[in-house]
Amino acid sequence: MKIERELMRGAGPTAVLKLLSTRTMYGYELVETLAKQAGGVLAMGQSTLYPMLYNLESKGLIEADWQQAPSGRKRKYYSLTSKGKKKLRADIEAWTQLNSAMTALGVLEGGPAGVSA
């Protein structure tokens, strides 16, 4: 399933922040993890991921650090900043409310019978 660009623009950063809240990750790792954990819904290529990461970095929500893997390959690892943590909490709250609203409207399962899409 392909997510519309506008939806992706809203959900993508929150998803990335959420993943980085568990541990530091490098770019490809983020792509892979997103694809696996979100069942492919939030799959994104380099063209989407890196601009997104750079934007989050410019806002001070994540920070990057070049590290050398045991294989010798140098990768840029991203981690959540304290500002990023706050933002993630706020995003989760917003998504929860959105979810409730959509459920109440019957857009999501668990809403009023006969009105779900």
Partner: protein, 666 residues
């Protein structure tokens, strides 16, 4: 394991390749060109060519800083290598990569957001400046369109209208044709003598030692050539042989109008003159109108003055009277141009006539009979209107200037035009435009700015007329009101020195020197009243054998009222009889009656601005009394009185009676 995996560098190889030392070596080898650097990185990565090319193409398109491109290249290489490691094929990776152009654009935008604060600040400033320049440019283009589309609407044809007034007169009612002929004839008549006298003057003056006085050619000193001047007899001879022509001048002076058709110079470089056209916009600005008759009037009046003295010496009372009468008529000639300069020339001719009268009565007593004195009194009384300004000419010049400079919205307002700019440039450079302002590219570039800087038509009109109206009021009220004029001029000057007021600077140049001209009017008024009184006293003397004890004895049979001393508001002119004659004088600018002790110079004029110096409040406001009259400061004029008439028959007794003068003056 894919083939490219087998080629992967191990950890120490990667570290060596990316060590600072190797980076420096590659940097030097690549002569500092970043794209070579990123390409080298890609070559070192051992990625398949299509993937390396894709990354290279994308990164180069970002046009980011070198360090940013290197970092992105590193990250994309690592990402791609990870993808290959996880089993993706190059084709899959290329497909999921997206359009390099769009990716480059997204990367560029996102990376720039990470740039340091100073860079973003500078970028915002640059953008702000660029936006401002664009805004200014667009505004200027709009302003330029508005400026260059503006055209003056020349409705009034002042020059043509002035000349049209001559059409109501027949040719034999016009004095100018005679004046012009006589002047030309005089120039021819004196040509040889003038040349000879001028050469002698030049030769003599070139040989004089320090301390010796230079001389002037006698012919140039008319009417004040001394009788002991070496050219005197020759000049007298020239006058006697020119009498028939002077008879024509005397006749012409009694004609009702000058009747000159005024002209313009055809161009700045040509002496040819052109008549005003009936089509207003074809005419040059009125300010270029020539007034050649003024010089001729002065010259002919001076010649009549000289002949008057000759006639008095010859005991020819009829010719003395005819000359004085002709000079008074010349001063009364109707002048259609109405300029202050013309008014001042008329006043000057009147002053010359009055001087001639005093000189005749003083130096040649008894020449003029009672009948002649009465006739001259009546004729002088008709000249009261000469001592006035109509301001009409000045206002015409100004309004003509305005109609040629501004557009006309039909409601008295308008904006500066390109023609107006040129006219102002000419005006500033006195018609020569020696700086070539009107045709320079600077003028075309800066012209539209004048729309923003120049005041609009209505405010220029209001400013000019506020000054003229005030001047008219002061002229009618009296010299004690002159500080109002001075304060107003000071206010305008002060305003012109401020940034917003500077835009009026050029326009203010069009306002004549009203203070000085008005002051001159008051002085002339006093000289006029004194001369009328002198004639009345002379008639009284004919009747009673001696002058009156006081001026009140003249009222009403010889004079309607006593003349006023404008330096002593509310008081009459001072009158003093002496054994040898009498004096009429004013207290002068020190406001003290010094009993007729004069200033250092008999002809030195007192100064109203020193008699009524303005006083200002602490806030800089002109102090006025409840009636709106300026409260003057202490008089600052020099001591001594202003002697208006000093008529004593014996020159040896000309000195005033010093015994009557306070010690401080003696």
């Amino acid at each position: 394991m894919s083939s490219h995996q087998s080629n992967r560098t191990n950890a120490w190889e990667w570290s060596l390749k990316h060590s600072p030392l190797m980076h420096s070596v590659r940097w030097i080898l690549n002569r500092g060109q970043p794209h070579l650097r990123t390409r080298e990185l890609l070559q070192d990565s051992d990625l398949p060519a299509e993937l390396a090319g894709l990354i290279d193409q994308t990164v180069r398109r970002t046009k980011l800083w070198r360090s940013e491109r290197i970092e992105i290249t590193h990250e994309l290489i690592a990402h791609t290598e990870d993808a290959l490691d996880s089993g993706r094929t190059p084709e899959q990776i290329v497909r999921s990569f997206g359009n390099p152009r769009k990716v480059a654009k997204l990367l560029r935008r996102a990376t720039k957001r990470k740039r340091p604060l100073y860079w973003r600040t500078l970028r915002n400033i640059r953008r702000g400046v660029a936006a401002m320049i664009l805004l200014i440019f667009i505004s200027y283009v709009g302003l330029a369109a508005r400026f260059y589309l503006g055209e003056p609407n020349i409705k009034e044809n002042y020059a043509y209208a002035i000349n049209a007034l001559n059409e109501q007169y027949d040719e034999d009612q016009k004095a100018w044709p005679i004046y012009e002929e006589v002047r030309a004839a005089w120039d021819l008549h004196i040509a040889d003598a003038q040349k000879r006298q001028s050469e002698y003057e030049r030769e003599y003056n070139s040989t004089i030692e320090n301390g010796d006085e230079a001389i002037s050619a006698g012919i140039q000193m008319i009417p004040n050539i001394p009788t002991d001047h070496h050219d005197y007899e020759e000049v007298v001879g020239l006058f006697r042989s020119f009498k028939p022509q002077l008879d024509r001048v005397r006749d012409a002076a009694h004609r009702p109008t000058v009747g000159i058709d005024l002209s313009f110079f055809a161009s700045d470089h040509d002496d040819e003159m052109i008549e005003p056209s009936a089509v207003a916009h074809e005419n040059p600005p009125l300010i270029n109108l020539l007034l050649p008759h003024l010089g001729t009037h002065r010259q002919l009046a001076n010649m009549l003055y000289f002949e008057t003295i000759l006639a008095a010496r010859d005991q020819n009372p009829a010719l003395v009277y005819e000359n004085l009468s002709a000079m008074l008529s010349m001063a009364r000639h109707e002048s259609h141009d109405g300029t202050i300069i013309t008014d001042l020339v008329e006043i000057a001719i009147l002053a010359s006539t009055m001087n001639a009268m005093e000189e005749v009565l003083n130096e040649y007593p008894g020449t003029l009979s009672r009948a002649y004195l009465v006739k001259l009194t009546h004729e002088l009384a008709l000249c009261e209107s000469v001592i006035d300004f109509s301001y009409q000419g000045e206002i015409m010049f100004f309004e003509d200037f305005l109609q040629r400079t501004y557009t006309d919205d039909g409601n008295g307002n308008g904006r500066m035009t390109p023609e107006g700019m040129d006219l102002l440039a000419e005006f500033v450079s006195f018609g020569d435009d020696e700086f070539g302002i009107s045709k320079s590219p600077v003028r075309y570039a800066t012209g539209p700015a004048s729309l923003a800087l120049a005041p609009d038509r209505r405010s220029v009109y209001t400013r000019y007329h506020s000054m003229m109206d005030l001047s008219k009021s002061v002229k009618d009220l009296g010299p004690e009101y002159l500080p109002l004029l001075e304060a107003k001029q000071t206010e305008l000057e002060r305003e012109s020195n401020t940034i917003p007021g500077m835009r009026y600077s050029l326009i203010d140049m069009l306002i004549p020197a009203l203070g000085a001209a008005t002051e001159r009017l008051f002085m002339s008024k006093m000289e006029y009243d004194a001369t009328l009184t002198m004639l009345a006293i002379e008639v009284y003397k004919s009747d009673h054998g001696q002058p009156p004890e006081s001026l009140s004895e003249l009222i009403p049979s010889y004079l309607p009222s006593e003349p006023m001393d404008l330096f002593d508001p509310g008081s009459s002119m001072k009158y003093k009889t002496l054994d040898t004659g009498y004096m009429l004088y004013s207290v002068g600018s020190d406001a003290d009656d010094d009993l007729g002790a004069p200033h250092e110079s008999r002809y030195g004029y007192p100064d109203f601005s020193k008699r009524f110096p303005p006083s200002y409040s602490e806030g800089g406001e002109l102090r006025l009394d409840d009636a709106g009259v300026p409260i003057p400061d202490e008089p600052r004029g020099r001591e001594g009185d202003w002697i208006l008439i000093d008529l004593q028959v014996d020159p040896k007794t000309k000195e005033p009676d010093r015994s009557l003068v306070p010690e401080s003056i003696n």
